[in-house]
Amino acid sequence: MHTLNFQDMMAALSRFWANQGCVIALPYDLEVGAGTMCPETFLRVLGPDPWKVAYPQPSRRPADGRYGENPNRLLKHTQMQVILKPPPADIQDLYLRSLAELGIRLRDHDIRFEEDNWEAPTLGAWGTGWQVMLDGLEITQFTYFQQCGGLDLDPVSAEITYGLERIAAFLQDVPSVYDIRWSDQHTYGEIRLQEELELSVYDFEAASPEVCRTLLDTYEGECLRLLGSYRDFSARRFPLRKAYELCLKCSHLFNILDARGAISVTERVALIARIRRMAVGVARIYVSRMQPAEGLEPVGEVQPA
């Protein structure tokens, strides 16, 4: 069988999940560490409404930057994110069928679901699940969300996160992610290598920790100001997503500072608690606006991490 190139893979997975009733969303237009942080996941898993979505999401992790010199590590990698709320009973089979869509002949391989529980303290989120191993290679994170924004989820959502570069390098049998064929004309390296270098240089060297700190404080101030003014708006007009974007900005700045080693012992714990506080505040407003009858205090006491 013809091996899919990188963009074909995204198309194949999008088509597969669209056929399962998923909305195919666009990648989010802000820096995020993972597809989980996009509102299409973080907000939509809250509350009672069923939801199915799939989208590719470039995900930035400054600490993983290697100036484009490591064949397996990327500062910005591509996730294919799928949310099924509530999860169908045959979800594992669906997932395995999606692998077949990528050209993985299941009978030729050893696919294992190994325990891996996911937790994102800055989002007040955690879940149980597995890392899916294909012949010893971790290709997917599979999670049943139990909590998000500090709130118990009912119904729970299943999250499937494919690591596209890894799968592509495996399928195309290339030694480096930069050798992946993105399209039939271009390699991954042609499209992304220079960007990896530039992002690494900025995050590790050029970024000014002082400016990052100032920005973080400013974004946080703006976010908390918005959350605090919730009652000044009619519920529907409250710019909730903007408050959430400000929280995401802070999360990314925290990651840059962390990669720089600019965060001290006690500060780290405190910063995580500050970001979590914003995320929890956003989640509570989202839920209380959706279910006013539930009596959840929207901007109530926010528990520190």
Binding site: A89, D108, D110, G136, Q146, V156, V265, T266
Partner: protein
């Protein structure tokens, strides 16, 4: 049984194909059950809880828990006969459960047999009563005088009691009780059919299971370790079998199980345990973990002995049913000695057994150049990250080091990994694994070289930024505290000539550097070998042997089965590190409570006791720990007053645990030596161990048991019958007031022993000390036989009490508190 005709390729088609079979499955709705006259009839039960992949680390306990819960429920429901080799389900203490967790459940003792794979928990009961026996019980009602009025007519109380029990008042009985005559009713409960009882009981057994980490996934909100996707519940076998109908977590019970994910026929209907086991084997699932374990061992042996090790011949999934397991044990070619051996690893083997339904090993290899990396790092990459077995050249299995990863000697550039599919005929899976391992080893090699560009001493300053604990500060803070504790220990050992100044220097150097590896990329990637990595870097950077070995060993012993550090210097560093953890932890309220021990302090405490007992014998731990506490408590930012009392009893408890778990001593022996009645009871753990062992041996003699009985009696008299101020406990015994022969003899026996016991106390021969104590028996026995202590003459009485009080201090709570010893059933003579 239907044959497998009409083979279909796609999974969907296979599902459809199995549906007619399901509908025609024999026995559905046509079971013949024992009639009312045959209440002794029994039937087997099969329960399978089908799940998405259960984490390997929970599987053994989950299987045991299912067995215990089901057994208990069946006994309570009176569906199993009490006499049939009944074994009460023993409650286990949390600590014990943990210690047993690695072992497979003992299946031979229970009537409920259990099995498990990553996708299923299985229980099989060989014979269950088809119907509960009818039961008659007597229910006591109101007293007769309340139940009938003066004219003998039943009152409301009698009537309502009768109607509550469904009988007429005239049918009620009069029964005699301790409180008088009462009304009673005979209540007959007709036993229910097993199938009905099970339909109520099984969902409760399943939903009542608990796990260290559980989840919800559907609307009923049942918590389980992973989603339940199917349930097989059958009563009876073959044609007679019948589905036990119930629903848990939205899943209805049935008779359809699922094969291996890749099996051609993903779902099959089954009629009972035998049919189930056979069909699953054909579907590439072995339900019995012990058989999987045997298979793993045999297949690995075969693999390593075969001529072309990299080619694993195995049946393709498409081929005819796999050979039964008996064939797996086909003779291993003995003429060829394998060139490589597996580095033994029981934990990994357990993981492999718990994470596969159909284990099949394959051999892979990696490039020779990676062998420049230390053995410890290679094994960690393979074992912890990829779950591979490492291989070493045949004949290199001499036990020399502490664990498989730290034994001397090189490895082979190859590995064994366990597949969960029947084979890899084209080598596709092997190439995948080799590719992943190569990338991992490239990373490790990169870290190995990159980390050493900043030598360990230059990393000390970086520890200021690594958190140890919120309230306890950074690792740099921890090192400062640990250093002052280490200085105490060194001074102590130097004064006993157990340490020379050079070693002291090495110990303090090792303390300084021991946490520096936390700042390396290697440890950030492979956290499980922290300490070891530091030791390896220190070695590569030319630190003296005693220094790098002490760094390497400073987490040891990680539990009571682990070894102590290999040198005195290492023992000092490990002890100081752990004392800081315990003292610091208690000072900020992290002390262990119940089953929770967030900071692992029990483990640290066990390590402290083990080192003090085995690696640094003679060390006065009490004195050392209390000085360390005084020294470092003021340094800590948040203090809890009275912490020392807690730490003291914690360490004494850990020592008691050590004496029981490691030395295997009886609990009352331990209580006797650690009793607060004995001065300095736990100060020097190595001596406590000797004393406890000597006592355990000595207490078997009849003389000693008599002495222990006398000690109890003495203590009773002294504490319950008399007050110290009444008899002047501090005054000497007056020889003139000793009237009877027996008390004079006891007095002279005590005096004769006094000097000898003082000599024995300062020496180390505990056996001799207890032997000497035992010689007091005749005089003590005579005294208690003939002399009345509580004499009406108060002067005589006081003198006798003083004699006993003196004896108590001199003998009964000198080396151990003999009054703590419980009498043996049949003493040796």
């Amino acid at each position: 049984m239907r044959d497998d005709s009409g083979k279909v390729e796609s999974r969907e088609a296979a599902v459809l194909a199995s549906i007619p079979e399901l509908l025609e499955a024999p026995g559905l709705g046509a079971a013949h059950f024992a009639g009312p006259g045959e209440s002794d009839a029994t039937l087997p039960v099969l329960l399978e809880i089908g799940c998405e992949e259960i984490p390997a680390r929970f599987l053994v306990d989950a299987e045991r828990q299912l067995g215990e819960r089901l057994e208990k429920a069946l006994v309570e429901a009176r569906l199993v006969r009490q006499e049939a080799g009944a074994v009460a389900v023993a409650a286990t203490e949390p600590g014990q459960r943990q210690r047993r967790a690695a072992k497979p459940p003992d299946k031979s003792r229970s009537r409920v047999k259990t099995f498990s794979t990553p996708r299923r928990l299985i229980a099989h009961v060989g014979s269950l009563l088809v119907k509960q026996p009818d039961q008659t019980e007597e229910v006591t009602g109101p007293p007769i005088k309340v139940a009938f009025d003066a004219e003998g007519k039943p009152t409301r109380a009698a009537e309502s009691f009768a109607s509550k029990n469904g009988v007429e008042v005239k049918d009620l009985l009069h029964v005699e009780t301790a409180k008088g005559l009462y009304l009673a009713a005979k209540k007959m409960t007709i036993g229910r059919a097993a199938v009905e009882v099970l339909a109520d009981l099984l969902p409760k057994v399943i939903a009542g299971m608990t796990f260290p980490k559980s989840m919800v996934w559907e609307e009923t909100g049942v918590r389980f370790v992973r989603p339940i996707r199917w349930i097989v519940a059958l009563l009876g076998e073959g044609d007679q079998s019948k589905i036990i109908p119930f629903e848990v977590a939205g899943v209805k019970s049935g008779n359809i199980t699922r094969s291996h994910r890749l099996a051609r026929k993903p779902q099959v209907a089954v009629t009972g345990f035998k049919d189930y086991t056979n069909k699953l084997r054909r579907g590439h699932v072995e339900i019995d973990p012990e058989r999987r374990r045997r298979r793993v061992r045999q297949q690995i042996q075969k693999l390593l002995a075969s001529d072309t090790p990299e080619l694993v011949s195995s049946l393709e999934p498409e081929a005819s049913p796999l050979a039964p397991y008996a064939d797996v044990s086909a003779p291993i070619p003995e003429n060829r000695a394998p060139v490589s051996n597996l580095v033994p690893d029981a934990d990994l083997e357990g993981w492999v057994v718990a994470s596969t339904e159909w284990p099949q090993p394959i051999l892979g290899s990696f490039e020779q150049r990676f062998l420049e990396l230390p053995r410890e790092i290679l094994i960690t990459v393979m074992r912890d990250h990829q779950k591979y077995f490492a291989l070493e050249p045949a004949g290199s299995d001499g036990e020399s080091g502490a664990g498989p990863e730290s034994r001397d000697g090189g490895l082979m550039p190859s590995f064994v990994t366990m597949l969960n599919v029947p084979g890899d005929p084209q080598g596709i899976i092997r190439r995948g694994h080799e590719r992943v391992l190569t990338a991992r080893l490239e990373d490790a090699g990169f870290f190995w070289h990159a980390d050493q560009k900043i030598p360990l001493p230059d990393r000390v300053a970086l520890l200021e930024r690594v958190t140890y604990h919120d309230k306890l500060g950074s690792y740099a803070d921890k090192i400062r505290r640990t250093r002052s504790i280490a200085e105490f220990i060194c001074a102590e050992l130097e004064s006993e000539n157990q340490l020379n100044p050079g070693q002291k220097g090495h110990a303090l150097r090792a303390v300084e550097l021991c946490k520096c590896d936390l700042t390396t990329q290697m440890v950030q990637e492979f956290t499980e070998i922290q300490g070891i990595v530091g030791g390896l870097y220190a070695k590569a950077q030319g630190e003296p042997d005693e220094v790098w070995q002490a760094i390497y060993d400073h987490y040891k012993p990680v539990n009571l089965d682990d070894r102590c550090p290999r040198s005195v210097v290492g023992a000092v560093v490990s002890l100081a590190d752990k004392l800081d953890a315990v003292i610091g932890g208690f000072s900020v309220g992290l002390e262990p409570t119940g089953s929770s021990d967030p900071f692992g302090l029990r483990r640290a405490g066990n390590g402290i006791v083990k080192i003090a007992t085995e690696a640094l014998p003679g060390l006065d731990l009490y004195n050392l720990a209390s000085r360390a506490h005084q020294e470092i408590e003021p340094i800590l930012s948040s203090r809890v007053a009275g912490g020392w009392k807690q730490i003291e009893s914690f360490l004494s408890e850990r020592l008691a645990f050590y004496l029981e778990a490691v030395a295997g001593l009886k609990y009352d022996t331990i209580r006797a030596v650690l009793s607060p009645e004995v001065s300095h009871s736990w100060n020097v753990p190595s001596r406590v161990l000797e004393r406890a062992k000597a006592l355990e041996a000595a207490r078997k003699s009849a003389d000693f048991q008599a002495l222990a009985a006398a000690a109890k009696r003495t203590r009773n008299i002294l504490t319950k019958s008399a007050k110290p101020e009444d008899f002047g406990a501090r005054m000497p015994v007056s020889a003139e007031l000793l009237r009877s022969q027996e008390e004079r003899e006891l007095y002279s026996a005590s005096e004769a022993a006094r000097a000898e016991l003082a000599v024995l106390e300062s020496g180390s021969d505990c056996k001799a000390a207890f032997h000497r104590l035992a010689k007091l028996r005749p005089a003590v026995d005579q005294f208690f036989d003939k002399v009345m202590v509580m004499d009406p003459d108060l002067a005589l009485r006081a003198n006798r009490l003083r004699l006993l009080s003196d004896l108590d201090t001199l003998a009964f709570r000198r080396f151990a508190d003999l009054s703590e010893l419980e009498a043996a059933v049949a003493p040796d003579s």
